[in-house]
Amino acid sequence: MKHDDLKPFHHALKILEDNCIGCVHCMRVCPTDAIRIFSGKAHVDQNRCVDCGECLNACPVDAIVVEQDDFNKIFSFDIRALLVPAILIGQFPEDIVESQILAALHELGFTHIFEVETIVPFLNDVFIDYQNRSNKKPLISSFCPAIVRLIQVRFPSLVGNIAQLKAPLDVAALYVRNLLEKKRGKKGKERSVGVFYVTPCAAKIAAVKSPVSDEEGRINGVINMDFIYNKMLRIISDKKIKPEQSPESVLRSGREILWSVTNGECYYEKGRSLAIDEIHNVINFLERVENGEMDEVDFLELRACDQSCAGGALAPQNRFLTVERLKNRVEKNSNRKNFNTRAFLTKNDISFLLENISVRPISPRSILKLDDDIEKAMVKMESVREMMKLLPNIDCGACGASSCSGLAEDIVKQEGSLDQCIFIQEILVRKNEQFIEHFEKIWGKAKLNRILSVKTNREEL
């Protein structure tokens, strides 16, 4: 399938051919039907994949991994800033205090640490203003990159509802880079600035590496959360860092550290808003949005993962515990003097961020169409329907496609053939008596007869 005017998506999910056993687990859970099995291995259609990570969670043999930048890349910069999502803090039990977490990150080599959610209060102001000017209902958050891509490929008519604003990560990256580049030192002797990000998921990596519709990212590298978590845990538990020895905490966010868990965005919304997490829930809901059933809703917070980013595929800890821990930290911080986010941004910062905060309209990239031309698509559709009379409709996956209708569509797109179906092979081509008997026992006479009767008017088999 070609998307002529659009660059291919960057993908962070990779299949390790050596580990892949060609089972169908990943194919079954894929929300965009992007996976096919052939030659014993799973293959991903790059135009369909939205990097949601469902396949990674489903893989029984760890054959699906998330690409990772070389950690040592950070040392090629003099100033090494790390953007930390609150979810990372939520991986640690509350008896590990923020200052220990920070100290561990410094120990790993970072010179500046900035909590992404610190930017949230500023972003909220911008968003409210944006919403007042927008006539789209419901307006859809641009926060979760897997959702943005899902809408592009499966709900192309809704791309216009996605807010054309950068996500907190991108705004935070802009701010930090801008700030540190001012501090890089005398002309000729400038120190280089590297901005890194700890990610809870593959989708964020994919978004950083190929922003949906914008200029190239301002992030030099991405570090997977499970990787850095293990390193941090070792440093902290080796007692190398005791709470009292740690430097002054700068993780000062309040309520906004809950932004990336479910209802985090909705909390700030004025109008009627709904938060939906887990990609299949989101799909069901978007079907209804598309039908015009949700035109009364002002705002939708949609997240691909269950419990939102707390359930990100790279977040090592239990998602429910993560949410609880973050809530407890907010509670604990509430009687502490909070860091006023609006106050740390200077007038210049604000105008700089405002200039750079919007993104271009997001383009649709439908994967559903059988053909660009409606008449050709109709002919293909008719063949699909013909074929569906023949196929057993049990979605066994043995053909390497996710379902019988998936195989039928592959065939009309000339990406598959009917003899991939083992039932067609055994019942109609080989006329294998034993197989037929066996099939009838399990799937019943009606199904068998249906297949056999179609055969009579299909000479080509």
Binding site: E287, N291, L368, L370, D371, M378, M381
Partner: protein, 151 residues
């Protein structure tokens, strides 16, 4: 290859009172229209119209059949039901007019907006009804009318 007069036909059966499956036809047709690369605005108009018509059979009639024909020019929908029929069609077309039973209202229907909504979203609409026998509703949505509302 010549594709003159290609069209796709679909048929659905609807049972009165079966609210849980109201919407089956419209979501099935939506899937098809997406595969045919029909414009999103047109899809929405077709889906809204079909859904309202489908719910009307469920809410007001005993049973009915839906026939959908899709060609490269238009989506034609025909709903034939057995039911009480409509006494005054022009009244039924008014916004807010409804004879929905309390049970139906409890399900969240009965605002009297269904037929006006179909009118707004379709390019052609015709109702024929025989009281005590049933109702026939015909709806057309033109594939190329991408800016929405008719007239």
């Amino acid at each position: 290859m010549l594709y003159v007069g290609v069209s796709l036909q679909f048929r659905f059966h609807v049972t009165g009172g079966d609210f849980s499956s109201a919407g089956t036809a419209s979501s099935e047709i939506k899937k098809v229209l997406k595969k045919l690369n029909v414009d999103g605005v047109v899809i929405k108009r077709a889906v809204v119209s079909l859904y309202e018509a489908e719910v009307n059979v469920v809410a007001h009639a005993f049973e009915g059949d839906i026939f959908v024909n899709i060609s490269s020019e238009k989506i034609s929908i025909l709903l034939k039901d057995k039911g009480p029929g409509i006494v005054d069609i022009s009244k039924a077309m008014e916004e807010g007019f409804s004879t929905a039973s309390p049970q139906v209202r409890e399900m969240g229907f009965g605002a009297g907006m269904g037929l006006p909504n179909i009118k707004r979203n379709s390019d052609f609409m015709d109702i024929q009804s025989v009281v005590g026998e049933g109702t026939t509703l015909q709806i057309e949505i033109y594939i190329n009318n991408k800016n929405g509302e008719q007239e």
